[in-house]
């Protein structure tokens, strides 16, 4: 059944397949060329995580690792499991970042509440990391994504120290700073980040604040949401629905 939606999806699919065939990338940020030009002035990306929906399957971590060739032992995104019990007992774990899911390990207290928290670079509006990059290798794009220029980075590690969320690392092979890019190479082609696409329970959602119809924009504007470490005034672009006070 040929509907407008199917046609548009097919175009996107062909674009996707064409890319797999090595068709050159789309034009300059404000440029033309390719089937559709991307203008970063039209976008201001935002991410919404629903803690209540996450099942801790770790498929997002797996997808990210595969999409971005993340080295073993390092993580662009990861899942933390919180088990909270009586007497203020809190047990947090993240076995291999949640890459292979979680197993039912025993804790020595009665668990009254538990949840999984996906984490990644928050792509803050007031980044402490780009502030401290000595050479201008770490920067924020006009569409709100924080990136690292792998060819300009000198590998000093200052940004790794400056991130309050532990989302950065020094790549063990390329020796430059690395982190979640919100799959910039995907989102600028109209795709979702690999983690968002992989999530089977819609715990991860991705949106554009400049689009008035965007469901994520609507959710953030109308529902109670939290960010991590708000007191540090980094102004993250990752929002959390259902975040507990124990989560840093």
């Amino acid at each position: 059944m040929e509907s407008e939606v199917t046609r548009r999806w097919f175009l996107k699919a062909f674009g996707g397949v064409a890319l797999m065939l090595g068709v050159p990338a789309w034009g300059r940020p404000q440029g033309n060329g390719g089937e559709k030009s991307y203008n970063w002035e039209d976008f201001s990306y935002v991410y919404l995580i629903d803690v209540g929906r996450c099942i801790g399957c770790g498929m997002c971590v797996q997808a990210c690792k595969r999409e971005n060739m993340v080295p073993d032992g390092f993580f662009r995104t990861w899942i933390e499991r919180y088990r909270i019990g009586e007497g203020g007992r809190v047990e947090v774990d993240s076995p291999n970042g949640g890459l292979n899911g979680f197993s039912s390990t025993i804790v020595d207290f009665k668990v009254t509440k538990a949840f999984f928290v996906p984490k990644m670079c928050n792509h803050c509006k007031n980044t402490p990391c780009t502030q401290v990059c000595p050479v201008g290798a770490s920067y924020t794009t006009r569409d709100g994504v924080v990136l690292v220029d792998q060819k300009h980075c000198i590998g000093c590690g200052y940004c790794v120290q400056a991130c309050p969320y532990g989302s950065r690392y020094l790549h063990p092979v390329t020796h430059v700073a690395d982190k979640c890019t919100w799959c910039y190479h995907r989102i600028t082609k109209g795709l979702k980040p690999a983690c968002v696409a992989a999530c089977p329970v819609k715990a991860r959602e991705f949106g554009n604040m400049k689009n008035e119809q965007d469901p994520v924009r609507k959710a953030i504007a109308t529902e109670p949401v939290l960010v991590l470490r708000p007191e540090l005034l980094t102004r993250p672009n990752c929002y959390y629905r259902g975040l507990d006070k124990e989560v840093r």
Binding site: P29, A114, K189, P200
Partner: protein
């Protein structure tokens, strides 16, 4: 000024070094640096041009459309093909198949999502393996889940 020749000469040397430094700096600053901000503007397009590895379930449709019809109508439709079978880039390169996709049959793989764990939302289908097998009657084995459930149409009884 008398007796200051040496001071003047040193001052001249210092100025010369500073001038040379500024020339070198201009030569070695990368060309697109500073165009949009304090970074190398060319990097933005470099990042956009990285290879896309996951094509999404839509990219499986051209060859596997029939199979997808079942999947898209059943409970696992929210689970993308590539989540269980790996990204399309592992499977297709330059329009031709380069490798088989993984097809995990193990119970451990199913339990990764469906084992009952603290923290999983109550409404989400999850089981304690021993209890489930006792209830439905079955022997524990490495691929026991598949003896009753079809991964593309997992719900039993319609």
């Amino acid at each position: 000024m008398e007796h200051s020749k040496h001071v003047a000469r040193m001052a001249l040397l210092v100025v010369f070094v500073l001038v040379v430094f500024h020339i070198v700096r201009t030569l070695f600053t990368p060309p697109s640096f500073g165009k949009y901000g304090h970074y190398r503007a060319d990097n933005v397009t470099e990042q956009m041009s990285k290879q896309v590895i996951h094509g999404g379930s839509i990219s499986c449709e051209p060859c596997h459309g029939e199979k997808q019809k079942d999947w898209a109508a059943q409970a696992h439709k929210s689970v993308q093909c590539e989540v269980c079978h790996g990204p399309i880039a592992w499977h297709i390169s330059d329009g031709t198949k380069v490798a088989d996709m993984p097809r995990s049959r193990s119970a451990a793989f199913c339990l990764r999502c469906h084992e009952r764990l603290d923290g999983r939302p109550v409404g989400f289908p999850q089981i304690i393996p021993d209890e489930h097998l006792r209830k439905v009657g079955g022997e524990m084995g490495p691929e026991v889940c598949l003896s009753c459930h079809d991964p593309h149409a997992p719900a039993l009884g319609g």
